[in-house]
Symmetry: C2
Subunit: 456 residues, 2 copies
């Protein structure tokens, strides 16, 4: 087994009980119509019997106790599948509320480093007859985007396809494209640092040049908020879906992008939440928004994707939802314009500047004494465009649960899923009280945006 | 809040993800006959509404990250009860097997040091209509004996007493005697070292004198076995009750103590288990057995209890159950005779010698290269003598889940409960495969003992 790249082992080295470094996802399924009483236990037994295991799900650190930061992967020959794939249940009345409470707990505990770094719960007991699956994968194995992509790769758009692999397996024909996951921003930041070691002055020059002609939101201008504090180990997770049509309609009416509308929903919700907590700062909140930038190659053809880390002024100081949407649109447009004028290396460098400070957050004391580089990450990850199925069960929702870092007590990650946008909100249980209210505020914010553009 | 005694803070300092330092207990209850459909959720709501919280359940480390080993307690003013008291459920079919699997998982994860160091699960979904409660308390707050005693203090022998406190509360009249918990062996070992600092030569002399006239099982004579290896973080927990009458009948017929019979059950079960694993050593296993020694004061009257740590030759090399029982009886009798001839200080010193080596086990490398001081701890903790109730629900079982230390991958702790002996077996999930088979072997061992003394 090879030496882990530093960008991966970093997630093992900085992990503490306050900062678990795993990403998660909550999937909601509708059982097939012909499902019998033992559907779930039969499903679990079938999955446990397969020997389809992607190699990444066999990897464990060769030395569980990290000392100097150099970590090697070992392959686990005796994978104890029934340890990793767990059968769990919700207490009555089995509402989404009980599901989110259970997910919050599972997302809070550390993975066992003596084994491959993942756990998947098959969850029964939802009162509406659906079932759920919570997956937890260490960031050193996969970042959040890759993990979602991997899970999607185990699904099918055919309800009659009963040959879907287990969540830790892969399609034998290799068509799920797992091998080509985009780099996440975190690993991108890490790689940037590798690549620019010794050329920091050049990086600074790129950034200066880049900023000169644009009205950009700069790092370290974000206000200090209740979301930017040292965090504890416990998490709270909330999730809900909104209709893509509603978001699309606002975007069309306002002449902005769908992601602008999503950011405006988040902005309105954060404003309401912070007002409720008597904690709204005078200055607008700044979100770090990973964006996928399609660029033209020299020949004029699209040449793949490029990821950048934009800082977006959320306009939370503005009471009017239309003005907030407009401020967000301007901030995002300027940021994207800048990125599109950069070379790929310059993009990496600028993104690196934006996320750089996160790397030092696990050092005690840093969070309390410095301004945050931004207030939270809001990440919109592309998901399946069609209704997907897993061995005949329809995927109703797929909600990402993210990693929190010190000084970043809240994360909003959403993914498109057929006709919906599925939001997953991960928060530090201590620093972000009543996290689930953000769901209500998101709903209010979307309705307000609809009102502002004259739809309702 | 006071400074923690070193003997308590030690459990925070040595804790790692491989060695969680909490004790646990699994309680099984029968619902009252008039229990309605919402019995459990009503019960939970009532408990969450009380403000009866024993001060020890408000304590958290003032600095969650331990550095130099000096830890102070802080009192948590905003106790988030619904974080600590959790509502959980078992997947179908809801057998004891599912309960033990869930308990194994809960017992494996670390407590959040940003909060008071305990969690209690109220568990529904048992197919027989009973409910369960799993409690997890950090060893720095309470040792296992005190924790069991505390839980018993919240019960009542009156099925009509509906005024029982929550598991984290206390009786207002203070009659549950929580203040007078006996020291556990671990804290006793710690205190011994405190007291004998500087008088090690004296201690050695006591030990030499003590051993001279007795055939004693000495520390460090235990064979190296599969149970004495470095352990991982995951646990497996198994539990079952046996009738006290059966054990008593064997003890009477053989002229030995009930604890001798319990040890012989464990010995037979361990022998069968190790044979099954092709891992039975030639030399007999040695158990560390905490014993309560009643001693005569000078006036001839009983003057309270005194705890000693006996090493017992389990006779696992002997195929005949009668010979094993006899070997155990001899070993225990000699050990107790010795202890009874010692002064209280000498008892402490000898116990200290017996458990001393455990203190160094968290140091990497020590486990692999030295002989174990003993092979496992078998602890018999006195429990309630009558049928007990908690707000009308009858206590069917109370099974202790223990702390494992490096080099000690298995622990058997049992407690008497009315007409039963309730065994809790805690093992490292990696090192002790098929732990639950020890339950079957315990049953076989008891039947063999009955046969050997001519009862059946």
């Amino acid at each position: 087994m090879p030496m882990m790249p530093v960008t991966d082992s970093m997630f093992l080295v900085v992990e503490t009980r306050e900062h678990p470094m795993h990403v998660g996802g909550l999937q909601l399924f509708r059982k097939p119509e012909n499902a019998g009483e033992n559907y779930l236990s039969d499903l679990r037994r079938t999955m446990l019997a397969t020997d389809n295991v992607r190699s990444v799900f066999r990897r464990r650190p060769s030395r569980p106790v990290n000392t100097a930061g150099y970590v090697r992967w070992a392959a686990e020959d005796n994978l104890e599948l029934d340890y990793h794939f767990r059968h769990s249940a919700l207490p009555q009345p089995g509402r989404i509320r009980e599901l989110l409470e259970a997910t919050s707990r599972w997302h809070s505990t550390l993975l066992d480093r003596h084994r491959p770094l993942w756990e998947i719960h098959l969850i029964e007991g939802l009162q509406d007859g659906r079932f759920a699956m919570y997956s937890k994968i260490h960031h050193s194995l996969m970042d959040g985007v890759s993990a979602l992509r991997h899970l999607q790769g185990t699904l099918s758009d055919d309800p009659n396809d009963l040959d879907c692999p287990p969540p830790w397996g892969s399609r034998s024909n290799g068509t799920n494209g797992n091998g080509h996951a985009q780099p996440s921003l975190f690993s991108l930041a890490g790689k940037t640092f590798d690549q620019v070691a010794g050329i920091a002055p050049a990086a600074a020059k790129v950034a200066r040049e880049a900023f000169r002609e644009h009205t950009l939101t700069l790092p370290m201008q974000a206000p200090k908020t209740m979301l930017n504090v040292p965090i504890g180990g416990a998490r709270r997770f909330a999730a809900q879906s909104w209709s893509l049509d509603r978001v699309r309609a606002v975007a069309t009416a306002a002449g902005v992008s769908r992601n602008d509308v999503v950011l405006a929903m988040c902005s309105g919700a954060l404003r309401d939440y912070l007002i409720e907590q008597s904690a709204l700062p005078d200055a607008p909140l700044v979100a770090m928004v990973p964006v996928s930038l399609r660029r033209k190659a020299e020949g004029g053809e699209a040449s793949g994707n490029n990821i950048g880390a934009l800082l977006c002024n959320l306009g939370t100081d503005l009471a009017d939802p239309a003005l907030r949407l407009s401020a967000i649109h301007t901030s995002m447009t300027n940021g994207k314009k800048l990125f599109s004028s950069l070379t790929p290396l310059q993009t990496l460098l600028l993104s690196g500047v934006n996320v750089a400070q996160l790397g030092v957050s696990p050092i005690p004391g840093v969070v309390n004494n410095t301004r945050p580089p931004f207030n939270l990450v809001i990440s919109n990850v592309p998901g399946p465009r069609k209704q997907m199925y897993w061995n005949g069960a329809a995927l109703d929702g797929i909600y990402p649960a993210s990693v929190l870092l010190d000084g970043q007590a809240l994360n909003i990650t959403l993914t498109s899923n057929g006709d919906n946008l599925d939001f997953g909100i991960t928060g530090c249980r201590r620093s972000v009280p009543h996290l689930q209210r953000i769901l209500t505020h998101l709903d209010t914010a979307l309705a307000e945006l609809e009102g502002a553009v004259g739809i309702k």
